[in-house]
């Protein structure tokens, strides 16, 4: 296929986007040589990648041709699926790394030849480590095993053994060893040590006393390894027993028996029990004795520190230990990071103390210059305020995506390392993740902190981030939509009075019907057991007995408490298309249902939703579940009006998460909508319907019954798919909505 027709095909797939022609040409030209089946398959993936990131899509096109050398054509979609996951956790950089080595990163796993990845063992290993430590001790990927006291680092992949079970066991041993290093006090400060540098770890200060601090450090770590292994044998005997056959098979450095240094020999002793014979050399003899002793009984690192002093004297000037790699589970000592964390913690603690102290300090001001100072202060305040406003305006002008980036940077400054899976890919912090061709379409959304100065309605709570279902890749776009709860400013007008007047008769009828629903507590007569005697039944029973008839034993009255215990949320579409009669009828329907609901004890909430694009999904609470049907609520109903688009799924997910905190026997979510889910961006058609359907399935899985009332004439085409055959109703005449809605509610809950 020639380049022109490829380009044409590409533009057709990504319409309505019009990417630069030279970008497209550059990405497509290497593909021209492929045969048409390959090309079809490669192009078939574009709709799944393009909306996620344009840069990623171009990178994919460049990499897809070479990838097909290692992959079968039908494996490509699975590769893309993994690629998108990788993009979401590791950003563009992670995705590029993934694409660069198809064989190692993907094909081997696919054929079952690959090693075991940390991401796969984490669900099992993380709670295990938390249980060991009694606190959250995140497992993060790194080149070598290590710990900085807040996090345990493990290799991202272990492919040492052919059996995955053995690889897992090694992971478990590594994690347990790192925990044990913390628990056994390997990193404790040496006693009576002069601290030369405050910023260095005390152990580093100790090592720097020697001519060759690095060798001292290696010796110390090895001696401590012996002790930690002994500690593990004592604390986790089962683990050490199962790991025993594994230890001799772990890799060791140095192979020529003659050239082995003291560390090599000790490592052989530890792993294989292959201790050097006595009389080898004073250093080795002494080291063996010390290692065995410290492994036997020591409860802290003091013996190892003493041993290091002793051994460093014996270490010949020409004997270097640098060639010996640490044991695989032993990993590296991250002393400096540990120290930094410790100092940060200390600083935070001091800061908190200072803050609490300043709060309690009374403000003392000298009376003489108070006036001048206050004047100054006012000026300064004004200046500050102006600066803040400017910053806010600048913030507003940023694309939502850039805002999310800005926030990410501030998160990087936080003292605790965030449990960021992107570290898995050898990256330290997220930077590449956010590279993208177009601002609004890529990268996980970050919840922005609310700030003042919004035009319509204040943000009421912290924004919440939700995933979005992408049917094309059969997976979630993670942290995709930002949902804000906004206040709906109450509106005072005659709408409520007019509605109440217009539907006077109907409301009375509804209330009567709803009263019948209300059961609450009632006495049930003629029961076998009960709180009190049913005297009518008793008299009957006695007379029956006297008359020679078999007397009944149902003689009691029981108080039956049939609580309806229903919580219902009405989710109202506030999209632009509800203007005019539609919106009016929806509002009237809400007033009617509220009036009727007041005679019931059912808890109910009303929320409106609208928004534009994934970063601004808005939820307008009209009445919360525990709120009374007050004047403010009525005024908020009046304030419901057409706004922007219908991105329904985030709203449903938000309702699901709100419902999760509600205890009720029946939890009902009634959606009032006038059409298909749709948003300003490419959220429309099948994608939107599938996402909404998935959100509804999630709700059902949480025990919520969704139901939709729609006035869209085309509803039958997609509603049954989204909600299920019986879970929606189409109302033909919009004017009937107020009457029908209460009726529907009554049937649904009785």
């Amino acid at each position: 296929m020639d380049l022109e027709s490829l380009k044409e095909k590409f533009y057709r797939l990504v319409a309505p986007s019009l990417p630069n022609e030279w970008d497209v040409e550059e990405a497509l030209s290497p593909l021209a040589d492929n045969d048409s089946t390959c090309l079809d398959e490669i192009f078939a993936q574009i709709p799944a990648i393009w909306p996620v990131s344009h840069s990623l899509c171009f990178a994919y096109l460049s990499a897809a041709g070479p990838a097909l050398c290692c992959l079968a054509v039908d494996e490509l979609s699975l590769w893309v699926h993994t690629l998108l996951d990788r993009y979401e956790t590791g950003g563009l950089r992670g995705a590029q790394l993934f694409m660069a080595d198809v064989e190692q990163q993907f094909a081997r796993q696919l054929r079952g030849q690959g090693g075991l990845r940390l991401t796969n063992v984490r669900p099992r290993l993380q709670p295990y480590v938390n249980g060991l430590a009694g606190r959250e001790l995140p497992l993060l990927g790194a080149a070598e095993a290590a710990t900085d006291s807040e996090v345990i680092f493990l290799p991202s992949e272990i492919a040492l053994f052919t059996e995955q079970e053995e690889n897992f066991l090694l992971y478990k041993l590594m994690a347990s060893f790192q925990w044990a290093s913390l628990a056994a006090g390997v990193f404790a400060a040496p006693p009576l040590l002069k601290l030369h540098r405050k910023s260095a770890h005390p152990l580093d200060c100790f090592f720097s006393e020697f001519d060759r601090p690095d060798d001292a450090r290696r010796l110390f770590h090895l001696l401590e390894t012996g002790r930690v292994l002994a500690f593990l044998r004592q604390e986790l005997p089962g683990l050490m027993r199962t790991a025993a056959p594994l230890l001799p098979r772990l890799p060791l450095s140095g192979d020529e028996a003659a050239a082995l240094n003291v560390l090599d020999r000790m490592q052989r002793g530890l792993l294989r029990g292959d201790w050097p014979a006595d009389g080898h050399s004073p250093l080795v003899d002494r080291a063996t004795a010390l290692l065995r002793r410290s492994a036997g009984q020591a409860t802290d690192n003091r013996a190892s520190l003493e041993a290091v002093r002793e051994l460093m004297v014996l270490l010949a000037p020409d004997e270097h230990l640098a060639a010996t790699a640490p044991l695989i589970f032993q990993g590296t000592l991250r002393l400096q990071e540990m120290r930094n964390l410790g100092m940060k913690r200390q600083a935070d603690k001091e800061l908190r103390m200072m803050q609490s102290a300043t709060v309690s300090l009374p403000v003392v001001r000298r009376p003489a210059d108070a006036g001048a100072q206050s004047g100054n202060e006012g000026g300064q305040q004004g200046h500050d305020a102006a600066l803040i406003t400017e910053m806010e305006q600048a913030w507003e002008q940023l694309t939502p995506f850039m805002q999310s980036q800005a926030l990410q940077i501030s998160i990087d400054d936080m003292p605790q390392p965030p449990a960021d899976p992107s570290r898995d890919h050898g990256q330290t912090r997220v930077t590449g993740q956010t590279t993208s061709a177009t601002g609004g379409t890529a990268g996980p959304a970050m919840a922005r902190t609310p700030h003042a100065g919004r035009k319509k309605g204040q943000e009421m709570t912290e924004p919440v981030v939700y995933d979005e279902w992408d049917y094309r890749r059969k997976g979630f776009r993670k942290k995709w939509c930002v949902v804000n709860e906004r206040e709906l400013p109450p509106v005072q007008n005659t709408f409520i009075e007019q509605t109440l007047k217009q539907y006077r008769g109907q409301i009375r009828r509804l209330r009567h019907q709803f009263e019948l629903l209300q059961t609450g507590e009632r006495f049930v007569r003629r029961q076998r057991e009960g709180n009190d005697i049913d005297f009518d039944a008793l008299v009957e029973s006695v007379t029956d007995n006297v008359a020679g008839l078999p007397p009944s034993d149902r003689l009691f009255i029981r108080l039956a408490r049939d609580h309806r215990d229903i919580a219902v949320t009405f989710l109202v579409d506030m999209s632009n298309s509800t203007s005019g009669w539609v919106g009016q009828s929806i509002k009237e329907a809400l007033v009617l249902i509220c009036e009727a609901m007041e005679v019931l004890n059912d808890r109910y909430a009303i929320y409106g939703f609208s928004g534009m694009r994934r970063l601004r999904c808005e939820i307008f609470p009209v009445k919360r579940l525990d709120e009374r049907y007050s004047r403010t609520v009525r005024q908020r109903i009046s304030a419901i009006g057409p706004r922007e688009y219908t991105r329904m799924a985030p709203a449903i997910r938000h309702m699901t998460s709100l419902f999760a905190q509600v205890e009720a026997r029946i939890r009902l979510l009634i959606v009032l909508s006038d059409g298909k889910p749709e948003d300003y961006d490419d959220y429309k058609g099948e994608y939107a319907i599938e996402d909404t359907r998935h959100a509804l399935l999630e709700a059902k899985a949480k025990g919520i019954h969704p139901f939709c009332i729609t006035i869209d004439r085309q509803a039958h085409e997609y509603m049954a798919h989204m909600y299920g055959e019986v879970n929606y109703i189409f109302i033909d005449k919009i004017k009937q909505l107020p009457a029908r809605m209460s009726e529907i509610y009554r049937t649904l809950t009785s």
């Binding site: 295990y128 478990k172 683990l239």
Partner: protein
């Protein structure tokens, strides 16, 4: 009267139950008993609240009437009701009334599970009046000095909807229970589960690990009771890992990943 006497005697605890005090709970409880104050025991499930009550009842030589509360428990279930026997209406005391009459200890287990309107009936009994009105009989019972009221609840897993009313809560002397310290717990598990000290030590260590998993989705870890049950299984010849799986892991969670992690802990320890 003799019938009633016989019934209450069934609630007497003849043999000394095993209880290892973890603090000054016994002294406080005995002082409260001497004062006629009611007791509120709170703590996680299986940490020894009920056993403590049994031990206290044995020490004080009072019968122990235990009522497990549930949300269908009515006032009549506690106080009593009329029953029809041979064409006659006969009043039958509920457990609370029976305990008051006999000067026993009435222990309402998991009090928050009962409906709030039911728990109100204990209010006059739980303050200095120490009275129990029996409306249906028009009777006002005054509790003898030997009577004691004790309630328990688990603050850990109840929802906000199930909390004690302040007016109920503020009538009690409260004792907070938690899992015993490792040494004591080892001793308890060893004795009650008839285990070797080493095995008891490992079981307690395992329990300690499961109790650290709050953030990983396990709101409550393995209780002392579970450890004792595990010990008993082991004593009956079940292999240690199987016993741990049956009595601890599976009892704690249904989550597959957590189960796997618990299995890892078990296989590390034994």
């Amino acid at each position: 009267m003799s019938g009633r006497q016989m019934r209450i005697d069934e609630y007497r605890i003849e043999e000394e139950p095993y209880y290892l005090p973890t603090g000054d709970e016994l002294a406080i409880a005995e002082a409260a008993y001497g004062d006629g104050s009611p007791l509120l025991l709170k703590g996680p499930t299986g940490c020894g609240k009920t056993r403590f009550m049994q031990y206290l009842a044995w020490r004080l030589q009072r019968p122990l009437v235990t009522v497990s509360c549930h949300d269908d428990l009515s006032t009549s279930d506690l106080v009593g009701r009329y029953l029809i026997r041979a064409g006659e209406a006969v009043w039958t005391d509920g457990p609370l009334t029976m305990a008051v009459r006999a000067g026993a200890i009435c222990y309402l287990d998991e009090i928050v599970e009962a409906r709030k309107d039911t728990t109100v009936v204990i209010h006059p009994l739980a303050d200095d009046r120490r009275q129990l009105p029996i409306e249906k009989r028009g009777e006002l019972l005054t509790a003898p000095p030997e009577f004691m009221l004790a309630v328990s609840y688990n603050p850990g897993y109840q929802s906000v909807l199930k909390d004690l009313k302040a007016s109920t809560r503020q009538r009690f002397i409260a004792l907070s229970f938690d899992y015993p310290s490792p040494d004591k717990e080892i001793e308890i598990v060893r004795r009650e589960g008839h285990l070797e000290p080493e095995l008891a030590r490992s079981l307690v260590k395992l329990a300690g690990m499961t109790r650290g998993l709050k953030d990983s989705g396990l709101p409550e870890g393995a209780s002392t009771r579970l450890l004792i049950q595990t010990g008993k299984l082991i004593g009956r010849g079940i292999p240690v890992k199987t016993a741990c799986r049956a009595a601890i892991s599976e009892a704690l969670t249904d989550d597959r990943e957590l189960l796997a992690a618990l299995d890892e802990m078990v296989s590390s320890l034994f």
